[in-house]
């Protein structure tokens, strides 16, 4: 997309140019003009993608509306609210999600700022390190943890592994890192960090105060994006939670489906999807409202 004159091709810039020049337009004008209309290769992929991504979701949605007695209705969705065995893991998962998101911000924002300001040569290294959690298979991580727990000193069991909150949160923070680091890094790169920090420090602000009151408001959307991604991850991660025998929300979803309450399980997954999608979608509007000049992507 042309960054020079966004939106211009919508109003048939090509034909205008041709009238002005007279005669055959040069090749670059022709290229511009063609970009205005949706072209074949774009239409094809959008249709393919729409079919491929929407059909399974629609099928699942239809399934979640089916009722035991036949016919369609929202019984499965009602079940979610009334059933306490669904509610308590949901609360646990939400707690994990909120705490993880908070830790992510407290840890990642200073790190990113520090790397950008003081150690720019470490950028490549940071990118490599933050990719590790994507590629180290969660099942391997869980396997290691399970073995560790067998021989672990008792105090770690008591204070860390006994409760899903303390047992899972640190690992989810690490797992979310590849995405959160990138999101925050994109945001920080888009602002004039040096000037802002210098100004704030010169005016006598301490480092924590600079971070919280100068940097944070400027990268608000990026930080929100990182938080939402963390929440999405916490609401969806099953591998570690199952292997370590914690009962979180996604695990409960699987249990439900095994206990022949498939409908409720599918309904739950639909709700989660819709919830996360809405979060990200709303965020994109926020990003645009604030984003003057350079756009700040969620990822």
């Amino acid at each position: 997309m042309s960054a020079v004159n966004p939106g211009m091709d919508e109003i048939g810039e090509g034909s205008l140019a041709r009238e002005l020049i007279g005669g055959e337009p040069p090749a670059y004008v022709a290229a511009r003009r063609r970009r205005g209309r949706p072209r074949m290769w774009r239409v094809v992929i959008f249709v393919l993608a729409a079919i491929f991504f929407i059909v399974p979701l629609a099928a699942a949605f239809k399934y979640s509306l089916q009722q035991d007695k036949g016919g369609y209705g929202f019984a499965n969705y009602g079940e979610i609210i009334h059933n306490p065995t669904v509610r308590s893991p949901l609360v646990t998962s939400l707690e994990i999600a909120v705490i993880s998101a908070a830790i992510v911000i407290v840890l990642m924002l200073p790190t990113v700022v520090w790397v950008r300001l003081k150690k720019p040569q470490a950028t490549g290294f940071m990118e490599l390190v933050t990719l590790l959690p994507i590629v180290i298979p969660p099942v391997v991580m869980a396997a290691g943890l399970e073995q560790f727990e067998v021989n672990a000193p008792p105090w770690t069991i008591k204070y860390v592994f006994d409760h899903p909150l303390t047992g899972l949160t640190p690992f989810y923070v690490v797992l979310a890192m590849p995405f959160t680091y990138r999101a925050i890094d994109t945001g920080v790169r888009a602002i004039d960090l040096h000037t802002l920090v210098d100004a704030s420090r010169n005016l006598g602000a301490s480092w924590p105060s600079t971070l919280a009151r100068v940097v944070l408001p400027n990268v608000q959307t990026a930080v929100l994006g990182a938080m939402f991604l963390t929440v999405a991850l916490c609401l969806g991660e099953v591998v570690i939670a199952t292997l370590l025998l914690y009962n979180t929300f996604p695990v409960e979803m699987i249990n439900l489906s095994k206990a022949s309450q498939v409908g409720v399980s599918v309904a739950l997954s639909m709700l989660t999807l819709a919830f996360t999608f809405l979060l990200l979608f709303l965020l994109s509007f926020l990003a645009q409202r604030r984003g003057s000049g350079r756009r700040v992507g969620v990822l």
Binding site: W41, R42, I45, V129, L132, V173, V266, L273, V298
Partner: protein, 266 residues
């Protein structure tokens, strides 16, 4: 970070190199290589990851290019970005159910196609085959690719295209000599990430196929949950280490191409 990632890694690698009585040994590796089942698992895993990552990368790039060509900040942009963020994480049991509801024996699509006289299942397709599982993988591979490749595509400056065209290049010539060489490192890098992603995913496959599934992560799960012989713990840890080795190779490749990619995308 070092602690929470390091301890599990250390335990896995240490466990794979020692016997029950804590002596150093390579036997665990030899045993997993001699077992036909584990070899098959590795072969299946590699094939599955390879084709889903390549297909996912191609369609992901195509989709991302189509989105980037649209008006920035437009509706299409938003929908695709948010949807990619959500769907890249959409895996495991819910995804498996969605696909069973669509393409299972009595799924919506299967039934619909039957009306038109196309019987998917008569041609040997099942949702629990490797093809079916791969199709599910594509479902989260494509969004991930969109997320990974979009910054690179946005880094393609329109000035470059204008310059090329002004200098007399054809549209195809621009793609061939400018766009593809600039994008190739990012593309290969992102494909490697997809490969790693598919290689370590298994919850979806497990839900579709059940415990008979022979791919490596599922075998680790099996070994650790004690569904097989005694002493399988070691086998599980060893498989884990072998996975780490494969992933390590992928990462080195990623790092190498990433260095080239960064040259242009400042």
């Amino acid at each position: 970070m070092v602690v929470f990632l390091g301890i599990p890694l250390y335990v896995v690698i240490h466990g794979s190199l020692t016997t029950e009585s804590n002596h150093f040994t390579w036997d665990n590796f030899k045993q997993t290589w001699d077992s036909a089942g584990y070899r098959l698992a590795f072969k299946n895993s590699l094939i599955l990851s390879l084709w889903t990552s390549v297909v996912g990368a191609i369609f992901g790039t195509w989709l991302a290019a189509a989105v980037v060509a649209a008006r920035p900040g437009g509706f299409l942009h938003r929908i695709t970005q948010s949807a990619s963020g959500v769907l890249a994480y959409f895996a495991g049991v819910p995804l498996a159910f969605a696909f069973i509801a669509a393409l299972g024996q009595v799924g919506v699509v299967t039934t619909l196609l039957k009306h038109f006289g196309i019987d998917l299942y008569a041609h040997g397709f099942t949702i629990s085959s490797m093809t079916g599982v791969g199709l599910c993988y594509i479902y989260f591979q494509v969004p991930l690719m969109v997320i990974l490749i979009t910054p690179a595509l946005e880094g393609l400056r329109s000035e470059w295209q204008e310059a090329a065209l002004n200098l007399g290049a054809s549209k195809f010539g621009y793609l061939r000599h400018v766009a593809v060489p600039v994008l190739l490192p990012s593309f290969v890098g992102a494909t490697l990430i997809l490969f790693g992603n598919a290689f370590s995913a298994y919850a979806t496959a497990l839900a579709l196929v059940g415990s008979t599934l022979t791919i490596v992560p599922a075998q680790i799960d099996n070994a650790l949950n004690g569904n097989v012989l005694v002493g399988a713990d070691r086998a599980g840890l060893t498989l884990g280490t072998e996975m780490i080795i494969v992933i390590l190779i992928v990462m080195v490749g990623y790092w190498l191409v990433q260095r080239r990619a960064r040259k242009w995308l400042r």
